[in-house]
Every structure is written in C-alpha cells, then in structure tokens.
C-alpha cells in the first residue's frame, strides 16, 4: 500500500559553460582562503579558470567597515578562460559593507547569498547604510538568499566544545560548502587541504570540515535552491596540471633557473607588498641550496645580490615600485660592473606608497629610464600567472649569458591571481650551464665575447685573476678606471649595444588573430587575458584584428615595426597613462592610440571591446 509522503522537491541540475563567483567579507572572514579552496577544487576538477583576489592594504581595518572589505573572485569554465570575469553570477556577502562594495558587479538575476546574522543595525551603521537593503527592495533584481550563516555554523559545531569566536571563524567554510553544493563539487580537495594544513590541530580540522559539510547539507536539505549547476571540464591541452599563482610560479622559475645553470640561487629581499610571497616561498626551498637573505632595507637587498653575483651565485632581488625606486643606484652599479642579477618588480599602484594591494603597470618607464645617466638594461614582462615561471627562467638565462642585470615585470594581479598551469617536463626547460673564467692567460676583466659582448665572469677565489671592478667608468678591455672623453662615449654606446644584442634571443612576434587588418592591439604584462578575450569576441563578430603581446620590452622584437605596418590602426591598452604607447610612438613614428586605465584594477573585457568598437568606427 502506498504511503502518503510529501513529494521530493523538484530539483534541477543545469549545465553551464562558465560561472563567476565572488566571496566577499571582512578582512578577518577568511575570504582569501575560501576563494583559494574553491579555486583548487575547480582546478582539480578540470575547469579552466582565472582568479582575482582583491584585499585591502590594512591587515584588519575595523571589523564591518567599508575599508576592511576583502574579496576573491573566480571565473571557472568548460571553455578557455582569460580573465576573472567582468560581472559575477554568484555573490557571497558576509556583511553589509561587503554587500555595499560589491553588489554593483552582480549580474541582474544573479544569486546573492548574505549572512543575515551580520545585518543588525550596528552592522548597517558600520557600513554607513541608512536602511536595511534586505528589507528596502534595493536587492529585488537579484535572487536573494538570506542565510543565518553564523547561527547555523554554531549549531553545527555545538558539540565540539569550542568558544563562540573559534566557531565563528568557521562560517566561511559553511559558505564554501554551500557553493560546493551549488556547483556540484566534491569536498575532497578541501578536506585534504585541512588535514594537511592543520595536522597538529585536529579540532580545527574537524570544525572546518563540519562547517563545510553543514553548508552543503543546508542546501541539500532546505528547498531554497531549486537549481544546482554543473560546469564540465575544460578542454585544455593534454598534460599534467596544477593551479598556480604568479608569485609561486616566479619563485619556482628562479629555482629552475638555478638548477639549469648550475649555480646556487641567492635572494636578497626586503618585505614589500605584493612581492613578499616570493621571499616566503623561496625561504621554504632551502633544500634546493637557496640562500635567502631578508636584508635591512631595499638597498641592501639589491646590493647583497650584487655581492653574491660577484661571488658567482645566480642572484636575484624581489620588490615592488617603492623598493625599485630605492634600488636604482645599485642597479646602475650592476650595469657598470656588468654583473648578472635578476630584479623582479611586482608592480602595484603608485606613486609613493600608492595602492599597495592593487595592481598597476606604471613602472615601465621606471624600468626603462629610472636610473641616472645612460643606463639601459633588458626588461621582460610576464603575461599570466603561469608565465611568471617562464619569464623568471628566461630572465636568468639572459642575465648570465650577457652578464647584465635584467628586470622582470610582474604585477599584483599576476602575483596573487591563479590559473591552471601545465606543468612542464624537465626536458622542456633550457639548459644554460655557466662557466667561470679560470685561465689567467690573456685575462682582462672587460675583454668581451664577440657575439654577446659579455665580459668574463671571474669570481674571487680564482688564482691569477685578481682584478678590481667598481662604479667608476672603465677602460674597455682592461677595466681600469678611465676618465677619457672618447672612452666614456665608447663605453656608453657599448653598454647600449649590449642590450640591443639581446634581440638575438628575442623571437619575432607572430600576431594572434588576423595577420593583417584594421586593427593591431599591442599589450604587455597582465592585460593579456582581457585583450585576448576581447579580440576573440570581436573577431568572432567579423572584425579584422591582430594581437601582439610583448614579452621583451627592451630590446623590442626586431620585426615589431613591420608587423605594425600591416594594420590600419594600432591600439595599446595599458594600466598606466600610456607608457608603452609613448615608446612605440617615439621609436617607430607610428600613430598608435593609447587606451589607459589606472584604477588599481585590471581591464574588463567589455571595456576593451567597447574601445575596439570606438576605434574601428
């Protein structure tokens, strides 16, 4: 006999090709960890993805206030992903301040999950809100889910004997569990993470696991969500993948370089946002023979690297714009003494202290010209988080091959952003073993190799090669101090020529998209994703567009001018007031159009699309 039961809720699963989620809350709410976990899970599942962590410079601004809001956005898809996404499909807001700062980016009809326990009058006041948005119909355009995140988390953890504060710290994992249900994701990756990260704190593991499961079960049990989503695996090129951030990739690239050139890696660094993670990461890799030196200041960071390079190490220094400013005199010394160091500038908003946690690419001119006198050096820029690995490796190879300091430009967006990265086979990495000069016969410290113009690397401790170097002008060949006018002019030309010779190692550019046409977009650095996505969509709409993304900014690829001539117009989007465009216009006399953006935020795809339309009108 049939029993009378309530019918099961009609639940639907929809398959989508992509989604954008943003977690936002107080700096202390653990939004970066939550976002990072969702990212790893999506990566391990096999989606393509891009992330955008966006956090304030203050470690803990007063709780609940607007300056304290921290966010993490992830765009994951079964198709190619180039950017973290312009607008979000799902917004998780842990308090009114987070809601206020982020809701404008939520798509109309998008899912909005709020922690109602944090919407009391006092919370609204901290967010400078005069009425409660959960009641005043301002959120009517969204699918609003009011969840007692704090209460439900406490209820889930009530048997663990934890204090309220500790329980409340787990509410981000309740929200994470909800999102895992919403996108039909396994909780295994995060469970593994918890068990590894807190292996000495079993109670913390248990509490977070319980909170996450409770969030998942809440969605399963309540009928709030009628639809859940599936986003199938992306079709990435075959291989083994991992999720990687730009700073991690850069650190690993330096280690790879050290292994491939056979020299120990030395890092001199001073803590600075957003570069410090490279120092942290390399400090963990001492079993690779890495020497990390947290110097007393930025100047000691670079000069210690110069000292280590003089002694025969693969030496590097990592910093951001203000630190670069402090290092400039020493970089001139490395140019003058022709010692190989790799200088990594993880750019941030400026000038001065500027926007420490926000991204910008306004240090190009500083890299090119920010030193006294004629002091050119090679500059290479990374285009994606994973590319930071290859750029660090290539910069190291060029530095030791040409005996020259090399600047690597990354930025806050690449540094903290993540993407799935195809792990290279060791055989794909270039070998570039270094040989020091040991033969005293005919030795001169500034006698040059004909093709690269590099001088011999003669390290202290080598019998018979005792010599003196320094910042005073040199006589070519002997390296003796020399003040003669024509020798100085010769040396100025020679140092410039040395940089230009690197073009031998710079591949010609091959435009993506149309090989000729109405518009060429030239970019560099972290704008790669936004430009690529915009070019693809506009080409799909029938526009004739080519795209060149420069890796070497000095020297520029030798065919760049020829490529530019194949298009009617040239557009240069940059997160500065037009620095690369200035160089291109000056060097090639081409009427390139600048598209500047300096908001501490990456370009949205739609912004570049709109600019393309405007330029092609």
């Amino acid at each position: 006999m049939a029993t009378l039961e309530a019918p099961p809720p009609i639940r639907r699963r929809e398959t989508l090709d992509q989604a954008v989620i943003r977690f936002c809350g107080d700096s202390g709410d653990g939004m970066q960890i939550t976002g990072g976990q969702f990212t790893n899970t999506a990566a391990v599942f096999g989606n393509d993805l891009a992330t955008f962590p966006d956090f304030p410079a203050e470690i803990r601004a007063p709780a609940g206030t607007l300056p304290g809001v921290s966010g993490f956005q992830i765009h994951f898809a079964s198709t190619d992903v180039f950017t973290p996404g312009d607008r979000v499909d799902v917004l998780i807001a842990m308090n009114p301040a987070a809601l206020k700062m982020n809701v404008a980016d939520l798509k109309t009809g998008g899912i909005l999950i709020v922690n109602v326990d944090n919407f009391k009058d006092v919370d609204l006041k901290k967010a400078q809100m005069t009425s409660n948005p959960l009641e005043d119909h301002t959120l009517d355009g969204y699918r609003l889910f009011k969840v007692d995140l704090t209460k439900l988390t406490r209820a889930a953890l009530k048997d663990l004997g934890l204090d309220a504060k500790t329980m409340d710290r787990c509410k981000n994992f309740f929200a994470l569990g909800m999102c895992y249900w919403l996108y039909n994701r396994s909780m295994d990756t995060t469970t593994r993470y918890l068990e590894d990260k807190f292996k000495d704190k079993p109670q913390i593991i248990e509490a977070n696991k319980l909170a996450m499961k409770a969030g998942y079960a809440y969605c399963e049990a309540t009928e709030a969500f009628q639809v859940s989503y599936e986003i199938p695996k992306a079709k990435l090129p075959p291989g083994r993948y991992r999720n990687i951030s730009g700073n991690s990739a850069l650190a690993m690239g330096l280690i790879a370089a050290s292994q491939k050139c056979g020299l120990p890696l030395f890092l001199g660094s001073y803590p600075i946002t957003p570069a410090s993670d490279i120092l942290h990461e390399l400090s963990m890799y001492k079993n690779f023979g890495v020497l990390t030196f947290q110097a007393e200041d930025e100047i000691a960071a670079v000069t210690s690297a110069i000292g280590a390079a003089y002694g025969g190490a693969l030496a590097t220094t990592t910093t951001s714009g203000p630190g670069m400013a402090l290092k400039t005199e020493a970089i001139g010394l490395a140019i003058m003494t022709e010692l190989p160091i790799v200088i990594c500038n993880i750019q941030r908003g400026g000038p001065s202290t500027g926007l420490p946690t926000k991204t910008e690419q306004a240090d190009l001119m500083q890299a090119l010209y920010g030193r006294n006198s004629e002091a050119p050096l090679p500059i290479i820029a990374a285009s994606t988080p994973g590319d930071c690995f290859w750029v660090a490796l290539e910069a190291s190879r060029i530095a030791v091959k040409y005996m020259i300091p090399v600047i690597v430009l990354s930025d806050g967006y690449l540094a903290n952003g993540a993407e799935p990265w195809k792990i290279p086979q060791l055989s794909e990495l270039p070998n570039f073993p270094v040989t020091f000069r040991t033969d005293p016969e005919g030795f001169q410290p500034y006698k040059r190799e004909a093709q690269t113009l590099s001088r011999p690397w003669a390290v202290p401790g080598t019998p018979g090669l005792e010599h003196r170097i320094g910042g005073l002008e040199k006589q070519d060949g002997t390296g003796n101090v020399n003040y003669e006018p024509l020798n100085h002019e010769h040396m100025v030309h020679l140092r410039a020529e040395k940089v230009q010779r690197i073009v031998q190692d710079v591949p010609d550019v091959v435009p993506e998209g149309d090989a000729e046409g109405d518009l060429l977009i030239i970019g560099w650095g972290s704008t790669y994703g936004s430009i690529t996505a915009a070019v693809r969509s506009k080409r799909a709409a029938g526009k004739k567009i080519g795209q060149v993304h420069l890796r070497w900014l000095n020297p520029l690829p030798k065919n760049l001018h020829d490529v530019m001539k194949r298009y009617k117009k040239v557009l240069v989007p940059e997160m500065n007031l037009g620095q690369l465009v200035w160089v291109l216009r000056a060097k090639y006399l081409v009427d390139a159009i600048s598209y500047p953006k300096v908001q501490g935020k990456p370009f949205q795809v739609s912004e570049i699309e709109a600019k393309i339309d405007e330029v092609l009108q």
Binding site: K286, T303, S304, A308, R468
Partner: protein, 337 residues
C-alpha cells in the same frame, strides 16, 4: 706561489695611487699590504670591498680581488658576497661619511648579524672627496664648507655605535702608529665575526691635525692609552696615571699616594658585559681622559654566514636534495588527456 711566501710587493697594484701627498691613507695602505702576506691566506681568497670616499679607493691599490661599490653600501655588498662565498676573506674599507652617515644602516646591521667581515673605518672627521664638509664624527661646532658658522649637531662615537649594534670585535688604531696598527690589523684578521676597526686618519687638506693631540710626540702619551688584554689601564708619559671604576663611571687617578696598580681596571677585552667597553669607547669625551687604542672588545658569537649555510645543509640532510620535478608537481595536480 703558496700563501707563506708572499711579500708586501705581491699586494701592490700597478695603479698610480691618487691620494693627496701626505694623506694618512698611504700609511694605512702600507700597513695592510704589510700584514696580508703574514696571514697565511692564499692571495686569491682576499677581497676588498669599499663604498665611496677617499678611503674607498683602497681596493684599486690592493692586488687582490676588489670591488669599489656605491656610497655606503659596501657592508651590504660584502654581506651578500660572504653569504654566497664563506670561503673568502672579505675586508671592507670605509670612512666616517660612507660607513656612519649614508651607510649607517648597513653598518649596524652587519654588526648585529656578526658577518665574518673585517671592517676598516678610516675616521678623519671630515668629507674629503667632496672637498671638506663636516661629517658625523666632526666635533660639535665644526667649521667646515657646509657649516661656516659651526655645526650644531653632535657627533657619533664610532666604537660606541658599534658596541650598541652588538659588535663582537671593536678596536682602534692610528694611521701613523704603524707597529700598533699592524698588530691590531692582525687581531682583526684573526677574529671570527665582524671585526670593526676604527683607524684615526689625518686628512691634511681639509682637516689637518684632527688627531694631533693623540699623535704629537710630546703630548700623545698623556692623551692616549693602549689597552692590552690582562693589563691594568695605565697611561701617561711616565706611566703615572691609571683608570679605575668609581660607581658606574671611570675615573683617572694618579698612581702613588696609596693608589697602586691593584686599584686599577685590568683590561678584559672578553668581558661578557659590553658596558665596560662602552665606557672605554667614549671616555675621551671627558676632559682629562685618554683616547683608548687597541682592542676594546673581542667576544665570540655565532657567525651569520655559517648559520645561513648550515641551515641550508640541515634542511638538505632532513628533506633530501631538492628535486625540481617533484617541486613542480607538488600539491594538487590533475591529468588532462
């Protein structure tokens, strides 16, 4: 050539020495060139690193590896070099402007870390290479190019500063006291850790006679005291004065009339409390007190470059030598087919 058969000549370069005639730097160069052959170190292991200033031209005249860096940064360059190459014998040549003004930060942190460097601080109490501005060791009220009406800032006592920065070896000598200078140079060379040697040096162009009360034959014995480990603090032309403790202060006392050597401080350069060396380092600021020469303090402390490199070896022993393939494949990975 092996290390034991060097002569002074082996450490001279073919470069024309370009200090002003009569400069105290010549005497310091000569003393160092005389001492290096006796240290038992292969010539190619020596490196002299300098900053900017008259004193910093030093490396060009020493026939060893040399690096003339930028203003104030020699300790930082040398620290990087010593970390990467602990096998080298690295000397830093600097001055009162280079090491105590523009490079003051690097100087104190080098001392704090106890990097195995020998530091020769040429103190002439003036900026020479920029032609005569007052320096951080110039006396209060100094009239110089940039202070025509007298300086209004107080000087550093370089050895007090070094002791405050946790220096493990602090010593002083004078350019013209060649036997003493050579002896102290040898002690500095033997010290494990940062050896900080202040060398009082005369700039006969811009600050001539800055140290003449310490060097003139008829007055020097009353104005200096040569400290020797285990010996009482006695000075004066006829060895008639001593120094004893009086509460927390030092006191100059004439010997005789019931005051004997037994009442005086016996110099202990290895005293664990740096306060004693600190008192010595600045006592000559009080009228009637002599300027101490010799090794004020020499104690043992862990070496920075040893600590850094041992940690690397310990981690390698514990975790095995780094494997690049494993590093790249660490964490969550997945296969795309």
């Amino acid at each position: 050539m092996n290390a034991t058969t060097y002569s002074k000549k082996d450490f001279q370069t073919d470069q024309e020495v370009r200090w002003c005639p009569g400069c105290g730097d010549y005497a310091i160069l000569s003393a160092v060139q005389s001492v290096f052959p006796d240290l038992g170190i292969p010539k190619e292991k020596f490196v002299v690193v300098s900053g900017i200033g008259c004193s910093s031209r030093f490396p060009y005249y020493m026939n060893v590896y040399g690096f003339h860096t930028i203003h104030g940064r020699a300790p930082a360059v040398a620290t990087g070099l010593k970390l990467a190459r602990p096998d080298l014998d690295v000397w830093v040549a600097t001055g009162d402007g280079d090491g105590l003004s523009i490079g003051g930060n690097h100087t104190i942190h080098m001392l704090r870390r106890n990097v195995g460097l020998k530091v020769l601080l040429f103190n002439n109490r003036i900026y020479g290479l920029t032609k005569g501005q007052y320096s951080p060791t110039s006396e209060f009220g100094k009239k110089a190019k940039s202070t025509p009406y007298g300086s209004v800032d107080r000087p550093f006592f370089p050895l007090s500063l070094a002791l405050g920065a946790e220096a493990t070896f602090v010593a002083r000598s004078v350019d013209v006291f060649q036997p003493h200078l050579k002896a102290v140079l040898k002690k500095a060379a033997a010290h494990k850790g940062t050896a900080f040697l202040e060398i009082l040096q005369n700039c006969n162009i811009f600050n001539d006679g800055a140290w003449e009360t310490l060097t003139e034959r008829d007055v020097k014995d009353d104005h200096t005291i040569t400290v020797e480990h285990g010996q009482p603090l006695i000075f004066g032309k006829t060895k008639d004065k001593g120094i004893r403790m009086n509460g927390l202060n030092l006191e100059v006392v004439p010997l005789g009339n019931g005051v004997s050597e037994k009442d005086l401080i016996v110099h202990d350069e290895r005293h664990p409390n740096p306060a004693y060396a600190f008192l010595l380092s600045r006592m000559d600021s009080t009228p009637g007190f002599p300027t101490p020469l010799g090794v004020l303090r020499a104690v043992d402390a862990p070496l920075f470059e040893t600590g850094v490199n041992e940690q690397v070896q310990q981690i390698i022993a514990k975790r095995g030598k780094g494997d690049l393939g494993k590093l790249l494949n660490a964490g969550d990975t997945w296969e795309v087919k």
